[in-house]
């Protein structure tokens, strides 16, 4: 295939311009974070802003809470989604279409439509301000998407894989973990990264379900911090960097894997 040099140059210009647009807010927040704090005159990168924000906003504990929530949500949601996706993707049973639409429905329900009774019902059980109040609703959301995703992956696998296993006398659970799961590992990895990202970045659910500070996750910590230091753009930006960095690092480390997983996985839907 050949593309004329003129067109090629134009392509690079368009892609580069748009990449700069994508990077522009990120560069802004980094420069702001390293700029002088309120009332500081000297220039030069102020790396200690990050340390100051870390200490003053107690982001250590907040990041730990975010991590614990994610470690509870992602593995459970993942295993339950694989089991359910396996049933939908490879088995015939009465009511499977209706049940599948039930799961699809969950992907469309905005968090706003569940958060009000969740708060009042959890409060009646004395469960607000616990990890469960934050993790369980997010688990349900991730299961809706995860089931949908895993069903697509298992359906796209060659039927003779299962037939061969059935002939060998492998039971259905063995077939799932020994025959079906290994080739699906890239798409399982993709959906795990997605679930991790969503859980880490979730804002409304911890905002409402943890009215005290007991389970204030990292994004919520940023919002509170912003309220306290409204005028100090440098500190707020530094706090923003603290929260975004872990997830950006995960993404950059796994991007090759993740983006190709998205490209292939999305094509199977």
């Amino acid at each position: 295939m050949s593309v004329s040099p003129g067109e090629k140059a134009l392509n690079y210009i368009i892609l580069t311009l748009f990449s700069l647009f994508a990077l522009f807010p990120i560069i802004t927040i980094v420069l702001t974070a390293l700029g002088p704090q309120l009332g500081v005159a000297e220039s030069g990168p102020h790396w200690h802003n990050i340390v100051d924000a870390w200490n003053e906003g107690s982001f250590g504990p907040a990041l730990l809470r975010s991590l614990l929530v994610a470690l509870l949500v992602v593995p459970v949601a993942l295993v339950l989604s694989i089991l359910a996706g396996y049933a939908f993707g490879t088995m015939r049973f009465r009511g499977s279409t209706a049940l599948f639409y039930l799961f699809l429905f969950g992907m469309m329900v905005p968090a706003e439509a569940i958060i009000i009774p969740l708060f009042y019902d959890f409060r009646d059980f004395g469960l607000t301000d616990t990890i469960w109040a934050i993790a369980l609703p997010q688990m349900a959301q991730s299961i809706a998407f995860g089931t949908f995703w895993m069903r697509a992956q298992f359906r796209a696998m060659p039927a003779n894989l299962i037939e061969a296993a059935a002939i060998d006398g492998t039971n259905s659970m063995g077939t799932l973990w020994r025959v079906m799961a290994p080739p699906a590992i890239p798409s399982i990895a993709t959906v795990s990264v997605l679930m991790f990202m969503w859980t880490w970045n979730e804002f409304l659910i911890p905002l409402v379900m943890s009215p005290g500070a007991a389970w204030r996750t990292a994004p919520l910590g940023l919002s509170v911090f912003k309220g306290q230091y409204t005028a100090d753009g440098a500190l707020i930006a530094a706090a923003g960097i603290i929260i975004a960095t872990p997830i950006v690092l995960v993404f950059l480390a796994l991007q090759r894997y993740f983006i190709s997983g998205m490209l292939e996985g999305a094509a199977k839907e």
């Binding site: 295939m1 593309v3 067109e7 892609l15 748009f18 647009f21 994508a22 807010p25 990120i26 802004t28 927040i29 459970v76 339950l80 089991l83 359910a84 049933a87 939908f88 993707g89 490879t90 088995m91 015939r92 049973f93 049940l99 799961f103 429905f105 969950g106 469309m108 329900v109 905005p110 439509a113 569940i114 958060i115 009000i116 009774p117 969740l118 019902d121 369980l136 688990m139 349900a140 359906r155 696998m157 299962i162 259905s172 880490w200 970045n201 409304l204 994004p219 940023l222 707020i236 930006a237 706090a239 923003g240 975004a244 997830i247 090759r256 983006i259 490209l263 999305a266 094509a267 839907e269």
Partner: protein, 302 residues
Amino acid sequence: MKNRKGRERPSAVVRSGVTPYLYLLPALLVYGAFLLYPVARTAQFSLYDWPGFGPSTFVGFDNYLALLDDGRFLAAIGNALYLILFYSILPLVVGLVLAAILRRGQVRGMGVYRVLIFLPQVIALVVVAVAWRQIYTPRGTLNQMLGLIGVESDIGWLGEPNLALTAVGIIGFWLETGLVMLLLLAGMNRIPNDLYEASRLDGAGPIREFFAITLPAVKGEISTALVLTIIAALKTFDLIYMTTSGGPGSATTVPAYEVYNRAFQLKQIGSASALAIVLTVLVFIINVFVSRIGEERRVAGR
């Protein structure tokens, strides 16, 4: 939803009986208890007048009827529809161009561009809000850049009633374009190279090639991208909460923000629940509508 019609579901495990249901049960329990049941409870709450404590009064559909001439609610719906332009339509147009370039253009460093353009999707919306506030403040990056080209401006872009919603919309465009591009690229990667080879032998330029080959092949992905981004536009909450709190006045309020504000600030649980149900129904209708269009076109195109 793209079903491959006429394709049989793998049928090797025809073991009838309870096995499939046992696999579904754990997921269904968690999903039912913490998603389906709360939705039903929200629908129930929407029929009552309740300040969050004490006794509640059954009011039938009064909360819904009250929304009909509720200025803030109507403003929120109007704003959400306007945001769809920035969250869905613009990213679709730009995403198509970017994906087509990446598919056809033999671009070196394609992986780097993909990562950079997708990066906004990864960052927490609260952090995105902090970054864009810094851009939009009176002494922020945007006004500084305008100063460089000789335009003096000290506008607070998020504080102007006429500009604020567009300013939020641009954040949405920045957020969603990478996702749309990646989805479209997934579809375009399935187009066999021979098709492009053939069209180039015929002397087709990039524009003709795009409309003759690329666009028809990604109709399904277009409808998926529209569904995802329209939902994102309709459930925008974090961004509004962190940038404008719906203001100035009701200039940037959206349904999701109104639900939160009514339920947890104003303690109008009934009204908030009715609004949440309306929002869900709206998302549902748009979803069904857009995926129908996608599927019909796919069938018609064959």
